[in-house]
Each structure stands twice: as structure tokens, then as C-alpha cells.
Symmetry: C2
């Protein structure tokens, strides 16, 4: 279920996330762990850069889905990495965002709640094609439904390849061939 | 001119603001000024609490105007303080937000750009009435127009009182008598 966030809500969630980081700094300062604080500061800056890279992909709806994912009541935590900043022009943002939203719903329905469920997304984009590597780790209660979802065609120039399936892990990759080449 | 912010834009601005604070921490850490870092952390937590208090006033449009003010291209910087957290039910949020937006526009037109112009807002709310104290300090190029704006009636149960006018300062107060008592 996609939720439209308004300014106050977005700021509230963002403030909550940032304050958690500040509290981590504060806690380590009070223990005089200055080196740990320096590490945390570097981690925060790294994360902010990923967020900024994601925002600059020119896929606003898809980026919003990922950025607000952990604020929705999902049964998994999401993290992401964007390897290269690139202004993507060859992808259908709306289609991708819609697929991502269905992925989140399907995952919620197929995993055990209140477990350490984790979805990592790694995005590699260049001028020719974009690859999204997804890695789920956690407790799947309905693996076959989830794999069936991954077999559904997205559109004519987008392919999904499942690269690993085990008891507690599913890895898959989506790559999109630029439409102008099809 | 009111701007509708979307999720990505709000997050981008919020990230920029928070990263400035993190950079301040980082800079002081690299100088081994640990006590200064502790002060900065406390300041950040205080500011976040003000932001949270403002959000919880039950005046969403007014709160959004203040929270996003410094992201617009105004010729002044805004800060605010909310003395008490209270869920306000006796104020017309839309009217107040509209007046605030006109205040910002009028101020922009009456002050010298690229100067240290500053608008402080202090909000005191209780069950019976809400008082908004505004304090402008900076370079006014058209004081009379600005004072004329403050003389315009807002609505029947909202009063503006100008408490101080000097070369580089204008202080005024808006207070609203609860509508049910009128």
C-alpha cells in the first residue's frame, strides 16, 4: 500500500532517524569513546552520500519508495547502496516504483514477522544499463509464492534472474536493457 | 509564494541541514575539542525538540511554513522556539499559515538583501490563548510598508501589537483569542 507522505511526516521520520544517530554519538561521547564517535560520523556521512546518490538517479518515485520503506510497517528492514551516481534516462520510473511496491508487499506476505528480516539493494548504473541486485536474508515462510512473484514478467525489456536460493536467503537481480535499443 | 515540497525535496533539504551539523561535529572532533562536540550534540537535541514541539502544535500548515522557511529563497533566516507543547484546537491553521506566508513576502520586500537579517519566532500556547512573539533584526529598507502590513487586520479574534521599533529591529506579537469565547 503506497502512502503519500506530507512534509511534516517526512520531517518527523527523518528527524527520528537522525536523532538516533546523534544519540549514538552522545552515548559514545559519554563513555569517552572518541575514536568510535569518529567512525560513527564517517558512517553517517557515507549513508547520507548513498541517500544523495539514490536521489540523483533521476528515478524519483523509485527513490521515494526506498527512502521511505523503513517508515512503513514492513516485516523487514531495507538498506541500499548506489555504486555510481548517474542520471538515468532509460528507465520507466513509475513501472519500477510500482514493481518495487509489489515486491515489498509480496515479501511481507511471505516472511515471518518479528524476525531479523533484511533486504539489501545494490544499484549499479551506467549509460547502457542499470542493474539492481537484491539480497533477502531472514525467515521465508512461503518461499514458493515469493519465487513465483519473481518469475512474473515486469515488462518486455526488464529481466529478473534469481541467483541464489537457500533456507534463509534469496538473491536476485533485475536488469533493464535500455528501451531505445529494443 | 508557497511551494509544495515533495518527499525527495524535503529529505534533500533535511539531509543538507543535518549534514551541516554532522560536519560541525566532525570538524571539532578533528581538533580534539570533545567538550565542544558535547555542547553541539546538546544544541542539536534541543533544536530537534523545538522542531518536534512545533510539529505537535496541531497547526500543520503553519508548522510546515516555519519548518521549510529557510529552504526558500528568503532574504532572512528564521529561527523559532516553542515554549510549551500543546495540541492547539482554537486556532485557524490555514489563516495563520496564510498570514505567515504574507509576512515572509512582505519582509522580503522591505529588507536589504544579503545582510544579516534574522526573524525569531517564539510561541507560547496554553488552553486559552496562543501568543506568537516575532522579533526581526536586520536592515529594513522600507520600514513604513512593513509597519503598515502589521496594522492590517488578520481576523476578528486575532490581534497584532507592535512592541518595539528601532533602526534595526521590529518586535511584534500576535495573539489569538479562542474563537469559542468571541
Amino acid at each position: 500500500m503506497k502512502k503519500d507522505w506530507d512534509t511534516l511526516e517526512v520531517l518527523k521520520h527523518a528527524r527520528h532517524d537522525w536523532l538516533n544517530k546523534i544519540q549514538l554519538i552522545k552515548g559514545n561521547l559519554s563513555l569517552n569513546k572518541v575514536d568510535r564517535v569518529k567512525e560513527i560520523v564517517e558512517e553517517i556521512i557515507f549513508e547520507a552520500r548513498q541517500e544523495s546518490n539514490l536521489t540523483n538517479l533521476n528515478l524519483p518515485q523509485f527513490a521515494s519508495s526506498l527512502l521511505t520503506c523503513n517508515w512503513d510497517q514492513h516485516s523487514f528492514q531495507l538498506d541500499y547502496e548506489v555504486k555510481k551516481t548517474l542520471n538515468i534516462h532509460h528507465l520507466d520510473d513509475q513501472l519500477l516504483a510500482h514493481w518495487t511496491s509489489r515486491l515489498f508487499e509480496t515479501l511481507d506476505a511471505c516472511i515471518e514477522k518479528f524476525q531479523e528480516n533484511h533486504l539489501s539493494v545494490s544499484i549499479q548504473a551506467d549509460e547502457k544499463e542499470t542493474r539492481f541486485f537484491f539480497d533477502f536474508s531472514g525467515i521465508l515462510t512461503d518461499k514458493s509464492s515469493f519465487l513465483r512473484f519473481l518469475e512474473e514478467p515486469v515488462d518486455s525489456n526488464t529481466k529478473i534472474v534469481v541467483s541464489a536460493v537457500s533456507e534463509e536467503e534469496v538473491s536476485f537481480e533485475i536488469f533493464t536493457i535500455p528501451s531505445q535499443r529494443v
